[in-house]
């Protein structure tokens, strides 16, 4: 245990995903030893995300302002919505340059073990968007693991009455993994080869 402020910093860092107690300690002492200008930049970056970045009111991607950059872009097609679990998946798919439609970020996947059901995800909001009439195709790009597949199966069934074209990314993605870990080429190919689901 260290004195008040240092220990508080270690505790806060330790709460971050992927940071164990040892790393938290290392980062804390790194920051203590760092130039104050460097630390100042980190502090202001943290402050800015807290003040300026929120979730897009339409698709729940990260946004500065009401809507995200993608929802504001008039050149993108309103016909297709691609459903992903997290904002980082939007970034991964954007890198492939295969997709010119809009996104919808669920905020996770169905996982009863963690107490996450459809009501804990942005499913209702998705349905509202789909029923607006402009959308003709839905691409489900949840992670290629059991939870992602179950979420995809659930959504496919849920939207079936709307009569849209529903598709799922082609297999070939590393099974059991996260979308974000797939390289651009693989992900791009999975996008191109997406297969239709007839629920």
């Amino acid at each position: 245990m260290y004195e008040g402020a240092v220990q508080d910093l270690i505790d806060e860092l330790g709460r971050l995903p992927g940071v164990g107690p040892k790393s938290a300690q290392r980062i804390a002492f790194h920051l203590l030893a760092a130039e104050s200008a460097d630390v100042g930049r980190l502090v202001s970056a943290l402050q800015r995300v807290q003040e300026e970045v929120r979730f897009c009111v339409t698709c729940f991607n990260v946004a500065e302002g009401e809507q995200c950059r993608i929802c504001r872009d008039p050149r993108r097609s309103d016909d297709v919505i691609c459903v992903v679990e997290e904002p980082k998946d939007v970034v991964a798919i954007e890198r492939t340059r295969e997709f010119r439609g809009r996104y919808h970020v669920l905020g996770g996947a169905i996982s009863p073990i963690e107490g996450i059901g459809p009501d804990d995800l942005r499913v209702k909001e998705l349905m509202t968007r789909l029923m607006s009439g402009a959308v003709t195709e839905l691409i489900i790009a949840t992670d290629p693991n059991l939870e992602g597949e179950a979420t995809a199966a659930y959504l496919a069934r849920l939207v079936a009455p709307l009569g849209l074209t529903v598709s799922r990314l082609a297999s070939g993605l590393p099974v059991g993994g996260d979308l974000e870990y797939a390289d651009e080429v693989t992900l791009g190919r999975a996008f191109e080869g997406r297969r239709r689901i007839d629920a």
């Binding site: 996982s111 009501d119 179950a150 069934r157």
Partner: protein, 432 residues
Amino acid sequence: MWVRHLQVVSFRNWAQADLALRPGPVVLVGRNGEGKTNLVEAVAYLATMSSHRVATDAPLVRHGADQAVVRAALRRGDRELLVELEINPGRANRVRVNRAPLQRPRDLLGLVRTVLFAPEDLSLVRGDPTERRRFLDELLVTRTPRLAGVRSDYERVLKQRNALLKTARMARGRAIETLDAWDGHLVALGGELLAARLRLVADLAPHLASAYAAVAGEGAVTATLGYASTVPAAGDGSPRPSRGPSGAAPVPALPDADALPDADALPDADALAAALRDRLVERRADELDRGVTLVGPHRDDLVIHLGPGPAKGFASHGESWSLALGLKLATFALLRADGEDPILILDDVFATLDAGRRAALATVARSAEQTLVTAAVLDDVPEELRGVRVEVGGGAATVRDGTASDGGGSDGSVAPSSAAGAPGGGPEEEGR
């Protein structure tokens, strides 16, 4: 396959042990509690990544250490296989094969093959279905490593589905509507697991019949296997149709089980998946009621029959022992028929066997490419198995190799410090 060199660090009671071994019988002798079983447990862990004595990894790590290491140089034909495994309780294990790290630890399964027979195996006959399912599934994975993924995915889906069923009654909005989404996985994975188990039971049954006959002696009744499933199409537990003329002497081992007509009559994974789905529909109300998944391979059992009836609850103590031994010898025979002798491990079993069973076991053990035997006193071990001797005591394991001629002289003990942590040292350098 055989272990040429075994090294453990912070495994069980061993700060470190380092053994150069040979093919054929190897006997580890020493007083009780000195760590003989611990050494063979380390070898078996390389095969199954689980222990035959404990359900979690924590007890495998030496008190005070935070990880254990098992390294082994194995021989398969004229090829050498170097396996290094770091056991990290609560975290993922790390595995290297021939120096290359494996992406997933479970990719090791199937590479190292062992068959372990120990006093705990009596529970294969007398214990809960859990024991027998584990026996089947570990053997499945050894023979078909791809099934490791099927097995762990099935368990994960089951957990998710059970969590959902448990909360279903608590008005969790639309949560229950997602049950169907899990059923797709459960049915596909369950069908695959069922098909593989049925095939395994069919493959194992003739080997069990002949192994039991050899162990129990002339005139004993026949041992047969059945599969009792929560999915009726997969079996009701009754013995599979006998392959020999009924009432005849014990069915001989059939090396070519694939040629048998009834092996092809087994339902395939798709048919079993469909049957599982039907059964889920039938039991849905009960499942919602009870809050758990009631059908699927996780609820099934391997039924061992002795003569006309099930062994469990009826077989005598002696018969139960013979059946447990028979199952392990059948496993050995099956893996041998697949093309390669597994390492046979006999942990503290000779003292409890009578003369007939000892002789039957010794015959197989003598023929195996390598057999690791543990015993408190050498006298307990049949004469023909007293080959290489490893004396275990006082925190040291010393190889006394009566027939040694491998350069280092007859005393094969290795200085404890030679290879502990240094990646350059260790098993792979021995004998080059």
